[in-house]
């Protein structure tokens, strides 16, 4: 039975899986997986489903994870799984494993710490005897983890039976749980103008993806992105840095407004040297250090 871990706690040489019902979950997992790999100086190769490829790439760009420096160094590759995992309507486990091993060698030769590979294998379900071949592949790939390879396999639950999903899960060491194991983060978004979102709870590495999702949703509208932090109990340095980076990367004329910012969050922004970030507006600092929802 695979162990259950959040995406932020995937370790080098882990073989993980995520059966998903919701495409947003696959997106969150791919982004979290890439983020940690890039921080660890691993080469990151993501193969989402064709329809998701541009969405994944845009999310990585919008969140500052796929920075110009990362792209210029070829540390990150995003390509459609359908074209790379299946060729000529056939799926060859041995060939796939060979390509993975070659990918690891290339990554090391390029000076990276290893290869972090994520692929959506749902397309293999369309191949004749695809699920059996895929299950065999997931077992046969085990020796590859003697090399610095970390792998995340995604399966769309709608494309496989429950029994098939169970068998695929059993072939992995880790199953990803996207539910934040730490403090719950809840949000309340007003629909009247000016639109704003109240952030309730705590933000750390385990649920930063939720904050990213909320901010991106707000950014789909043309007005300022307004976050009310009056019920935010805790935010770590990475999440604070992400907010500041997001503001900095906004196009001219768009702003990220943070209201009811606690003195401690404001202090963190200053420590990060981000208090003069373009497009970031601190709209009110409150003195109380800890507030409870």
């Amino acid at each position: 039975v695979p162990a259950v871990r959040p995406i932020s706690a995937v370790l080098p040489r882990d073989h993980c899986c995520l059966p998903y019902d919701d495409h947003d979950h696959a997106l969150d997992a791919l982004v979290g997986f890439a983020r940690t790999g890039l921080e660890r100086r691993e080469k990151v190769v993501l193969l989402p489903r064709s329809a998701m490829t541009q969405i994944v790439f845009d999310r990585l760009r919008d969140t500052g994870i796929a920075s110009d420096a990362v792209l210029a160094s070829s540390q990150l590759v995003v390509a459609p799984a359908d074209h790379h995992m299946v060729s000529g309507n056939r799926f060859d486990p041995g060939e796939r494993i060979g390509l993975l091993m070659e990918g690891v060698r290339h990554a090391l030769a390029e000076g990276f710490e290893g290869l972090r590979f994520a692929g959506d294998a749902s397309c293999v379900a369309d191949v004749r005897a695809g699920t059996e071949l895929l299950t065999r592949y997931e077992y046969d790939v085990s020796p590859a983890f003697d090399q610095p390879l970390t792998m995340l396999c995604l399966f769309d639950s709608a494309r496989f039976s429950a029994t098939e999903i169970g068998a695929l899960e059993d072939a992995h060491d880790i199953r990803i749980d996207l539910q934040p194991p730490t403090g719950r983060l809840e949000t309340v978004t007003s629909t009247v103008q000016p639109r704003r979102c109240r952030i309730i709870g705590e933000i750390d590495g385990c649920n930063l993806a939720q904050l990213v999702e909320v901010v991106n949703r707000l950014a789909a509208h043309d007005d300022d992105i307004h976050l009310d932090l009056s019920e935010l109990r805790f935010i770590d340095a990475a999440a604070t840095g992400w907010l500041c980076r997001y503001a900095r990367n906004l196009p001219s004329g768009r702003r990220l407004l943070l209201s009811a910012v606690s003195a401690t969050t404001n202090q963190m922004i200053r420590i990060l040297g981000a208090h003069q970030t373009p497009n970031l507006v601190i709209d009110g600092v409150v003195d109380n250090v800890r507030r409870h929802a």
């Binding site: 705590e202 340095a237 980076r245 990060l272 800890r290």
Partner: protein, 308 residues
Amino acid sequence: VSSHHARGLDHDLLLYDDNATFAKELAAFFGDDPTPWDQHIVIAPRDRFLAFADLVPEVADGVVHIDAAEWYGRPVSALSRCRQLLRRHRDASRVRIVGDVAIGHDDCVEWARCESAINEVFADFPVSILCSYHSDVPRAVVDRARQAHPAVVESGVRFPNVSYREPAVLVPELRLDLPVPTGRPVVDVDLPAALSAVRREIEQAAQRARYGEAAIHDFLVAVTELATNALVHGGGAGRLQVWCDHRALHCEVNDEGPGLRDVLAGYRPPALDSVGGAGLWATRHLVDRLELLANEPHGVRAVARLSA
């Protein structure tokens, strides 16, 4: 070494005994080939700055004075304030800063690490930093400072510092021994763990020990960052322990990862346009002590301590 470089960092050491000597050395420092586009700043007690202003009022007229009492806090804050100054004066052809050091004996190791980090963090900035140490600064502070400056200044002349050691060599040697507390930890968990629940445990224990809300929050950030660091860089697992008594809040995170790769971890200001580097930098600002030590045979022992 007789004049300041056109570009890049100069980081010089000045030892002096009285305000008159201080004033003379500053007159030479700012009078050395000035241009109208340079920005001149002195961080010093008011009486020392006035001694300089009385000696050469025409030079002091163009110098910004910052009171040392407002400047110095935790040692690492000097790095972030220096970065702010350089950002504010990014249009200057060269920024010249005199920092009259006001650091006590308890902070001498951390201060020396910050002084050493300056050589790498600001290496590419067009800045001349003259660190002046009065003879009343504790001997232990001065002894370590001697190894962290590539040049020394005496009677207005710069000399190569034969005692200088590169940050990659000096910083790892500047270690503080922070012994493991003897009492029972209030938190002792394996990572990954539910950090929210860990924060609640620590918060309640610290409130019972009558720590202030701001101190508790700062410590909770430090604990979160050290745990996150173990998960991301330390092999993804580790052991988190926290002690709380009337003397200090003490956190230890031990991992078995590949070990510390960057001896200046937490001393480099995080870049605003990239991911990573913020956690240890923030932690150094929020606690009194942060030590990153090698675990045998591999891994890191990270210790954060916030005194009552």
